[in-house]
């Protein structure tokens, strides 16, 4: 597992690869949608066909969670969430960049001691999936959970409070965002680490086939997990509309 450049500001550690990965993923999503919708026509052509198929797929998710009016309201949210998580997941598989550091860089968190632990040449990741970080996945999952509870309170404080009589509901409210985050993080993290181990610890002629197979599987898993993340976010928000049933 490689190191990451970290900047410490007022006691808080900021991982630069995550910030860079988030910006790049957001830029890719923005650019893709911007250029796909430059010339919108009634008879779709080129990128517009793919985009409309994608929107229909997301409409399937929201359609099975809410009634018709709310489904249209949450379409943009779900579409953005799906596309962002999808691009962020594939970023580390396709565009993983790692460098080797021989000299200590104290302001990036690479000190003499960390170099000594890695025998003088530390592998430092410059770009990897932001979703392969536990903090990032938890941020997104907790945002969804907070929003769901906000919707619940807005829908009526009484009906939001009522299920809390059951102690199992307390456990559920904590475990929902926890599993939501870890599901995404663990899949992407395990995929990336295995690719790194296979590529760095063994010669290329041994690992060429396993790496190719695992990269294909990682792309598939990234897609499935982006879809599941969106489905679960919608289900968790939809549960609060139903009044805790």
């Amino acid at each position: 597992m490689e190191l990451t450049p970290q900047v410490t500001v007022a006691g808080l550690k900021f991982d630069l690869t995550i910030i860079l990965g988030t910006i790049i993923a957001a830029a890719i999503v923005f650019g893709l949608i911007y250029f796909a919708t430059r010339k919108v026509s009634m008879v779709p052509r080129g990128l517009q066909v793919g985009l409309e198929m994608l929107i229909d797929m997301i409409r399937g998710i929201t359609g099975m969670t809410y009634d018709h009016k709310r489904a249209e309201k949450y379409l943009a949210f779900s579409f953005t969430l799906f596309l962002f998580v999808l691009v962020a997941n594939q970023l580390g598989v396709i565009l993983m960049i790692t460098g080797e550091v021989h000299d200590p860089i104290p302001w990036l968190g690479i000190t003499e001691e960390t170099l000594k632990e890695h025998n003088g040449a530390a592998h430092v990741a410059l770009l990897k999936s932001p979703t392969a970080d536990l903090g990032f996945a938890f941020t997104m999952a907790i945002s969804v959970a907070l929003f769901a509870n906000f919707i619940g309170i807005k829908n009526g404080l009484g009906s939001w409070l009522k299920p809390f009589v059951n102690p199992l509901h307390w456990i559920e409210e904590v475990s929902k965002p926890a599993t939501h985050a870890m599901r995404l993080w663990a899949n992407i993290f395990a995929g990336e680490v295995l690719i790194t181990i296979l590529m760095t610890k063994f010669p290329l002629y041994v690992t060429f086939v396993p790496v190719a197979v695992w990269i294909a599987f990682s792309l598939f898993v990234g897609m499935i997990q982006a879809y599941i993340f969106t489905v679960l976010a919608n289900v968790y928000i939809g549960q609060k509309y139903a009044g805790g049933h």
Partner: protein, 74 residues
């Protein structure tokens, strides 16, 4: 010690995932055999459930990797 712990974690996670996936895909194939025209919808549903089943074992694998690289220590 942590190598042993990581091995047991990953092994047991793989065992559970194998049982879950075998049940899921057996029923999927049974469903296609009974109603071949439902293949499209069944495939989508199966893949979502596959992702849900895979999640917990892969969480075990991820924590096993963290143990192996001594990020979290015993």
């Amino acid at each position: 010690m942590s190598i042993l712990a990581a091995s047991i974690m990953i092994g047991l996670a793989a065992l559970g995932a194998a049982i879950g996936n075998s049940n899921l895909f057996a029923k999927y194939i049974e469903g296609i055999a009974r109603q071949p025209e439902a293949r499209g919808t069944l495939f989508g549903q199966t893949m979502i459930l596959f992702g849900l089943i895979e999640a917990l074992p892969i969480i075990g694998v991820a924590f096993g990797i963290l143990l192996l690289f001594k990020v979290i220590g015993v």
